[in-house]
């Protein structure tokens, strides 16, 4: 029977491909949220595999808060051009006009307006009825309870107490007009699985994941990179060059770096395995309160 054995990564891959195909078969207008990070990169690879030898039968959507790292944007445009994927970039123009930024408005308000509202605007504008996201259940406690097909009401909201039962691999994607489903094909992957897969499949990722000398300032426990001159420095703050890398990527003023010398995927795997803090520790937005992720999701956050 040994020749009929699948490793855990092969099993996870098969499950994810099944989910992605299921959505394309059953929804009228799906889209893939592409956040440029490592999880999105793995999800994109799985989608490419699901429809090989054909192209992706949907577009990628990037909700650009305008505060992403410059390298992320560059990487996004490079990947989409190279693979021939259709990319939609959406920013919340109202938010931009009001000058919403992570410094003056607090991370919570900023995230709600630029990310959550931006996403809902894009979903409505293009009439998407399903959106793939690269969230994993091991990231955070409330995500551990979210379904693979996460039903959202007309406001994009999640009701954790009223989720549809999800059995076997039978997903219920039925919805009325205006409602939608967020789909998480890599729900069952862990951070380590993602890195193992990137290594095995040689998936390109944003260079920010690898250690390099970068200009950072220390704020409490966080190392914040000064990615452009919009960064507001405190009077006594002077950016210093430190050897750092990022475990997750988001908006640069809200994403902490970690000191590291890991400059290859192998070294990152090694570091990840020895890590004593969880990856979301470097996400400033999660520190807003014990249940902050759950609250954000109820409002329509991914």
């Amino acid at each position: 029977m040994d020749s009929y054995r699948l490793s855990h990564l092969q099993q996870l891959e098969a499950e994810s491909i099944h989910i992605i195909r299921e959505v394309v078969a059953e929804f009228a207008n799906p889209v893939m949220l592409y956040s440029i990070g490592k999880d999105s990169s793995v999800m994109l690879k799985l989608a490419e595999k699901a429809f090989a030898p054909g192209p992706l039968p949907f577009s990628l959507l990037h909700v650009d808060t305008t505060w992403k790292f410059k390298e992320m944007v560059k990487f996004r445009d490079y990947i989409c051009a190279e693979r021939g994927h259709k990319l939609i970039v959406h920013s919340n123009q109202e938010g931009i006009d009001q000058g919403i930024n992570p410094f003056d408005h607090g991370s919570q308000n900023y995230t709600t307006i630029m990310k959550t509202h931006g996403l809902l605007q894009a979903m409505e504008k293009h009439g998407f009825d399903a959106a793939f996201g690269g969230a994993r259940r091991d990231e955070e406690k409330s995500r551990a309870k979210e379904r693979i097909y996460s039903f959202r009401d007309t406001n994009g909201g999640w009701d954790p107490k009223n989720q549809r039962p999800e059995l076997w691999n039978l997903y219920n994607g039925r919805h009325n007009k205006g409602e939608s489903i967020r789909v998480f094909p890599i729900s069952n992957w862990t951070e380590l699985d993602v890195w193992l897969y990137i290594h095995l499949e040689k998936i390109p990722i944003v260079p920010l994941y690898f250690a390099a000398k970068r200009p950072v300032v220390r704020r409490g426990n966080d190392l914040i990179m000064v990615d452009d001159d919009r960064m507001r420095l405190e009077p006594d703050e002077v950016p210093e060059q430190m050897e750092v890398r990022f475990r997750t990527l988001g908006c640069y003023p809200l994403t902490g770096a970690v000191e590291s010398t890991a400059s290859s995927v192998e070294e990152i795997v090694e570091e990840t395995m020895l890590a004593t803090t969880s990856e979301r520790a470097s996400r400033v937005i999660d520190h807003d309160g014990d249940a902050s992720m759950e609250d954000k999701k109820k409002e329509g956050y991914f």
Binding site: M1, Y4, R5, L6, S7, H8, Q11, L12, E13, A14, E15, I17, H18, R21, E22, V24, A25, E48, K49, A50, A52, P53, P55, R137, K141, S142, A144, K145, P160, K161, Q163, R164, P165, E166, L167, W168, N169, L170, N172, R174, H175, N188, E191, L192, L196, L200, E266, E267, V269, E270, M273, L274, A275, T276, T277, S278, A281, D290, A291, E294
Partner: protein
Amino acid sequence: MAGEIQDGTQTVEEFLAAHNSKDLLRFLTCGSVDDGKSTLIGRLLHDSKLVYEDTLAALKRDSERHGTTGPGEIDYALLVDGLKAEREQGITIDVAYRYFSTPQRKFIIADTPGHEQYTRNMATGASTCDLAVVLIDARYGVITQTKRHSFIASLLGIKHIVVAVNKMDLVDYDESVYNKIREDYLDFSARLGFGDLHFLPISALKGDNVVDRSKSMDWYQGPPLLAHLETVQIGGDRNLVDFRFPVQYVNRPNLNFRGFAGTIASGVVRPGDEIMVLPSKKRSKIKAIVTAEGELQQAFAPQAVTLTLEDEIDASRGDMLVHVNNLPHVAHRLEAMLVWMDEQPLVPGQQYQIKLGTQLVNGVISKVRYQTDINTLRQKGNEPLNLNEIGRVEINASRPLSFDAYEQNRATGSFVLIDRLTNATLAAGMIIDRVSGTEESDSASTNEALSRRESLVNRAQRSEKLGHQARTIWFTGLPKSGKARIALALEKALFDLGIQAKSIIGNDLRSDLCHDLGFTGDDRTENIRRAASACRLLNDSGLVTLAALNAPTEADRAIAENIIGSNDFLEIHVKSTLKQCKSNDDSGIYRRAINGEINNLPGINGPYDPPADSVFSVEPATDSLEQITTAILTQLADRKIIS
């Protein structure tokens, strides 16, 4: 993952090689909050050093605020109770998924709530699992909810059970408490058909036998929980025999390529295989198995692949590709066990959507045959099901469905019902193998009916000549309950009265007529079919037949009754307790079953349904063999079978 590299000598390459080849075990934990389930999971994660420092710091903070373990103690349950309401109320409402891995395996835990009102959540968690950890509080032993959880696990087809007797610290680590609970569990779970039952005494709170061996229970020699989970064999559970490929999506990127994308539900496929498309029954051959990495020479469940065919035949989402010589059922009607999951109750006759694999059709529940009381496991009325109720139903679909029995094939034997207005997922269904011949058979696998030649001598003429009726007396009872002994004594007694009788003994059949059969599902059914056919032949030739063989479930006996004919089938219950049967056991099968050397022994690790109370019964423990034969002869005379 902290703690995965145990020593510094392993290189990253070695680590990657080990982790790339390890496999995956999905398991379920069941037990109520009071049984310490969340504490157990927290302890597993904590002791295998899989909890990050920042998580641990937050845990210490939360323990002060919401903890139930007293000041200064860490409440491990808070590690896993994810939703705010749960943390505040101290109960686990939903299914939460936890992940951890060791160098041997990656584990996915479905953490499900225990209260009766969360039956649906437990069923949800169990649907994707291969193993269940059933927690029992050592102070209370096997209680109603233990039975409920075990029943649901069995209903959802889980074959591997670990019974963890928890809170041993509160009963002074007493071995006799543990042994009593073990015996009780074995007794009640016999009819649930778990292939692999494993017991261990633990204290999740104190960490005894969870990851590390307990220092307080020398009398327990087995491995701790984690070691067991790391080594338990589950690979054999997969169905690699029946090739089933539900077409998920037709991939047609250009005019030169037309592939059928999908996940192999079961079985193995290779290029050149002859296949049939169901329900259209069109045939073709597999041309290639296409993946992003190139073409494969074979693919098997649960791989996700794209198949191309030699011929331009029509197939679309919802169709199923199968091998021409191994077909599933194709029918409008099916019977299933249903777990009702919605606030609005089942309405017989109402149109629902049925999602079965990639098939989506409308259908109605034409009949509720019975409900199962999930606390006593007994059948009760046939009222429509409400939230969290379970029952057996008949379903009529608007179009033919391709399916297998859930027991043979989880992927093609399961479905959900969806409300057409609210879009809610209403129920989960597990298809039951239809008892052959009890309804119109539109199965694709049925042979053309063969016409029978009528004998020139009929039954009435034979019985007139012989002076008695021909019947099959079917003895039902646990293995070693005394069925064969009684059958042989009765055969002699009947002969002495001038009545032609012949006994059919299960063990003997196994060495001749049925020597080619094993003891697993299909083979057991075939064994019963052959035995019953032999009984019928003997009845047809005018003889009384005395059948003594294991037909442990109601379904088994229904097959026999159906073949023999209800009028000719007389069941007698040989009532012996498990204890008496064990003491009658000269062949050692009970000991071997308890030690796990043989599977599927009714009453131990295989199912056993005692007959209804209305069935005539005899009790070898209280009556002598002579008294028993006399009682049966009286019965036969009362029924005018003999005079």
